[in-house]
């Protein structure tokens, strides 16, 4: 049995055990730490070498003969990075869940299993299926235990993601059709060949790619299909917000990098697709960015900022070269860690203070210096300050768009978009710093008392900020691993 199968199955079994009455916090925490340990080991051991183009730790069981579907797992640098992100965030999310009903733990474990399954499957069917596995727990938890307009938010996320994944399914039907070897439909990524359309059939590939972009894009809250994300994250209980915004949302980007880009090489450079994508991602960065500035509550602000930052990752994809993709993957990891840390702190404040409105908060740093330092790290990381993980990713993305810059021809549309996106950094600096100042500094609001968390509660915060710092100072730890896989799946 491949270790990858174990780490997918463990959380599912644990979720079932918890649902049927096993001690909820103990079981969940133990399993998520075990998973973290296994994935970290695999990650460290991963040599970056692809033997004959094969992935590491492969295992496959056929579940359907025609068309060929198998439960197949395999890991390369890309999927290991995402798995690492998943297990880190899961461990932190479970750790910070205290005194909650068992359904919380079940949901967290199921979402984690869904994400791990999606990132580690090498068969399109299970890659898709595992992602959907997380839909019901997300929906139930938000609808039953969310804050504010919880029902509305739950329906919005469910219907958007449902429609998005159905469009994605139609796109995947196209992939299987166009890219399968002749005469045998297969869902196996290793057997699917890049689509080369003859002159009058080339548009099939372009349209299929665009369908995938829309489907995956909806799952990543690509503008204008983003309006589910902000209310859902703002209203979701802390562990679910962490897991969904930090991990599960990255599935759409992962799918684009894993399926759409390599199987339809060149489609991203088709002018109308690239232009459409650039316009949409500018919507994420600028439109949603400006909306974020106007938020008056911390949870709304974080939820919107998470939508906004997806724009940068899409910019990396739009560049279509290996450098941009490397940066995108690194930023996916960094954003996952930083946003889940921010949501964790957000939850802490909500529990202790009872309000998240900036006008009613202030001066918390006096009584809670630890909280204020951690929040500072997370906020700076999210803005993209050097020395923290997000910076490395964003820089790579910005640089990648200038690859092949020709002085005589001036800026291309891609480069103009990059320049506009740089304003986004200013926007996020504005709202993040303002939030930081309003919450932690200035005159203490009357009647507020916030203490630093207990030692046990500091562990996940400390852990997440350590990851941000380490990756920020030494991004090659991840980039070495990511780089080899990006080249191996045929992106130059």
């Amino acid at each position: 049995m491949s270790p990858l199968e174990i780490i997918i199955l463990l959380p599912i079994l644990a979720a079932l055990a918890v649902w049927l009455g096993a001690p909820s916090r103990g079981t969940s925490l133990a399993i998520s730490l075990v998973n973290l340990a296994i994935v970290a080991t695999l990650f460290v051991q991963y040599s970056g070498q692809h033997v004959d183009g094969k992935m590491a730790y492969q295992a496959a069981h056929t579940v359907l003969t025609t068309p060929h579907i198998q439960f197949a797992v395999g890991a390369d640098g890309l999927s290991l990075t995402m798995a690492l992100l998943t297990t880190i965030v899961t461990a932190a999310a479970v750790w910070c869940t205290v005194d909650k009903e068992r359904i919380y733990y079940t949901a967290s474990l199921l979402i984690s299993a869904g994400a791990l399954g999606a990132f580690l499957s090498t068969d399109i069917f299970f890659l898709y299926a595992f992602h959907e596995l997380a839909l019901i727990p997300t929906f139930l938890i938000i609808a039953l235990y969310g804050h504010g307009e919880k029902k509305e938010a739950a329906w919005k996320i469910t219907l958007y993601l449902g429609v998005g994944s159905l469009i994605l399914l139609a796109g995947l039907a196209g992939v299987v059709w166009l890219c399968s070897p002749k005469g045998a439909l297969t869902f196996d990524l290793a057997q699917l060949k890049p689509f080369v359309g003859k002159d009058n059939a080339a548009w099939w590939g372009t349209y299929c790619f665009f369908t995938l972009l829309l489907g995956f894009g909806t799952l990543v809250s690509l503008f204008p299909f983003h309006s589910w994300a902000a209310p859902a994250y703002a209203s979701a209980p802390t562990p679910i917000a962490m897991l969904h915004s930090g991990v599960l949302k990255k599935f759409g980007l992962y799918g684009l990098i894993r399926i759409a880009l390599p199987l339809f090489p060149g489609a991203i450079h088709t002018p109308w697709i690239q232009q459409a994508l650039l316009l949409m991602l500018l919507g994420n960065i600028l439109v949603v960015g400006l909306i974020t500035i106007h938020q008056r509550r911390l949870d709304d602000l974080l939820a919107n900022s998470s939508v906004m930052h997806m724009g940068y990752i899409f910019l990396g994809l739009a560049s279509g070269n290996a450098l941009g993709i490397n940066g995108a993957v690194l930023l996916m990891f960094a954003h996952g860690i930083s946003i889940s840390l921010l949501f964790l702190l957000n939850g802490k404040l909500r529990n202790q203070v009872g309000t998240l409105e900036f006008d009613k908060l202030g001066g918390l740093a006096t009584n809670a210096p630890f909280l204020s330092i951690i929040f500072g790290i997370a906020a700076f990381a999210s803005i993209g300050l050097p020395g923290l993980a997000n910076f490395a990713g964003e820089v790579l993305i910005f640089l990648s768009t200038f690859q092949g810059f020709d002085v005589t021809k001036g800026f291309t549309m891609l480069q103009i978009t990059t320049i506009l996106s740089l304003w986004g950094v200013v926007i996020s600096a504005v709202y993040m710093l303002r939030a930081y100042r309003k919450i932690f500094f200035g005159a203490p609001a009357s009647g507020l008392f916030v203490s630093d968390p207990t030692l046990s509660q500091r562990v996940p915060m400390f852990f997440l900020s350590a990851v941000l710092l380490i990756v920020g100072c030494q991004p090659s730890l991840l980039l070495n691993v990511i780089q080899s896989s990006i080249t191996a799946i045929g992106l130059k």
């Binding site: 359907l64 003969t65 299926a129 596995l133 929906f139 609808a143 219907l159 449902g162 059709w177």
Partner: protein
């Protein structure tokens, strides 16, 4: 062995149970156990000797025992089994509305309620094998007439009677359309057997309008049985009023048998070179699109769980019709008939699970409204989990059986380049997310009044476990069903 033996055996068993009932001094439940045992034997016989079935030469004109037939026979037997198990759960309600005041507590009516499903089962099994207009008609009527009785079985309940009358009139109407259509198809082609009709359609010279008229009437008649729009009007009312086990039977058994016949008839009409092939496909596509849309959109506003399941059953019929209409695509390597069979196999466990919970709830005094199911997930975690899995499967969430069926339909529509129907299927499935998830949300929300834990008999628990396992196994390992279908083809 002669496959008809199983049908005959079950028919005789049904008659014997009917005869034994008046002389029985012990509990009527014995009859149900005998019926269950008989059905299990029939199922075992079907599985063990399925490969060695041979139809005698005299019957080959009108009776076929191919893979598809054996598959649908299996579906018929399993659904009858499930119905009888659910009936045992539902017995208190039946007794209340069947027995007069002086006969309470004597389990009045349970005997007939056990033997009639056996007759229905026989009818459905013959339908699965029918390849001749007469056989189709007679077996279909055996099913329909037995259902008239079953639907209006609770003769002291106005609801049940009303449902019965509605089913009676619309059922008889569909019979009329069917026979008249058959008369025309026969009259024009001069053939009663589907093979002969197919040959005549391929060799037809001249105007095909009268042929289309006959074919459309036949499709309309069958459309009633499978609840295709615009012949679906009876479904919500009849589903709501009928005794719950019978609703389940209508929803699964009757629909499956209807699709078995529809598959053969449509394959005949749309055979390669048939003069009415294209028009029939057009007609099917229109029916499919309308059915998906109407079924799903009407389900949104429902507050009664049984009624909601009625509309959901209409919606599923739409996907099935869409699969049936995708006859041109060969890329998927699964024939439309197999997609339909697969879909029905996945539809069976999830629907029966919902109705099992509904029956047990009703028998223990819980209503059929959605809001009376509140808190079920907390009171009975296992039952809640089973219902959640069933609903997720109905909604078509991956790793459950329901997703595989929907995926095949969406793939078939994509490869057939039916983008309009594909869009409708996607809209329908998204709507499905809404109304099935609404039920899931209800069973996990906090109830206004304290509810009792719902108890199940051992038999029902076994059935619950088997069906939940089936949903997950088919969802994760679809080859399980595919093997049955493909192996039987060879």
């Amino acid at each position: 062995m002669n496959p008809l033996n199983i049908e005959l055996g079950l028919g005789v068993l049904g008659l014997l149970l009917l005869l034994a009932e008046p002389f029985l001094s012990s509990s009527r439940k014995v009859l149900a156990y005998v019926a269950i045992a008989g059905l299990l034997v029939a199922l075992l016989t079907l599985i063990t000797s399925g490969g060695s079935m041979s139809v005698p030469a005299t019957m080959q004109e009108f009776y076929i025992a191919d893979a598809l037939a054996l598959f649908y026979k299996g579906v018929a037997i399993i659904s009858t089994l499930a119905v009888i198990i659910i009936s045992l759960e539902y017995a208190p309600v039946l007794n209340k509305f069947v027995a007069g005041d002086n006969a309470r507590g004597k389990e009045a009516g349970l005997g007939e309620f056990v033997s009639l499903p056996l007759f229905v089962c026989v009818g459905m099994m013959v339908m699965a094998s029918a390849k001749d207009l007469i056989t189709i008609f007679v077996s279909l009527e055996l099913v329909t007439v037995s259902f008239y009785v079953l639907v209006s079985f609770m003769r002291r309940s106005a609801m049940s009677l009303e449902a019965g009358v509605k089913y009676l009139i619309l059922g008889a109407l569909s019979t009329g359309l069917l026979v008249y259509g058959m008369a025309w198809v026969y009259g024009l082609t001069g053939q009663m057997s589907l093979d002969g009709i197919q040959k005549a359609l391929v060799n037809w010279k001249g105007d095909n309008t009268p042929l289309l008229f006959g074919a459309a009437l036949v499709l309309a008649g069958l459309g009633f049985k499978v609840a295709a729009v615009p012949f679906q009007i009876w479904v919500p009312d009849v589903y709501q009023g009928a005794p719950t086990p019978i609703t389940a039977f209508l929803s699964v058994g009757s629909k499956a048998a209807g699709f078995a016949v529809l598959t053969r008839v449509v394959e005949t009409f749309t055979a390669k070179g048939s003069v009415i092939g294209d028009q029939v496909i057009q007609l099917l596509l229109i029916l499919a699109g309308a059915t998906i849309l109407v079924g799903n959109l009407s389900a949104i506003a429902q507050t009664n769980f049984k009624r909601l399941l009625g509309y959901s059953s209409i919606a599923h019929a739409g996907y099935l019709l869409l699969a049936l209409a995708c006859v041109h695509q060969h890329s998927l390597a699964i024939a439309p008939r197999n997609i339909v069979a697969f879909y029905l196999a996945t539809y069976l466990p999830m629907t029966f699970l919902c109705f099992l919970v509904l029956s047990a709830a009703k028998a223990q005094g819980v209503g059929e409204d959605l809001k009376s199911l509140k808190g079920l997930g907390h009171k009975s975690p296992l039952l809640g989990l089973a219902l959640t899995i069933a609903l997720a499967s109905l909604a078509g969430l991956p790793l459950t059986a329901g997703f595989m069926g929907k995926m095949f339909v969406i793939f078939a529509a994509t490869y057939e380049s039916n983008y309009l129907c594909l869009a409708l299927a996607i809209i329908g499935a998204a709507t499905g997310f809404y109304y099935y998830f609404k039920v899931i949300l209800t069973i996990y929300s906090t109830p206004e009044v304290e509810t009792e834990k719902i108890r199940l008999s051992v038999l029902s628990k076994v059935m619950l476990g088997v069906f939940v396992a089936a949903i997950i196994v088919i969802g994760v390992y679809p080859d399980a069903i595919q093997h049955v279908l493909v192996a039987a083809v060879k």
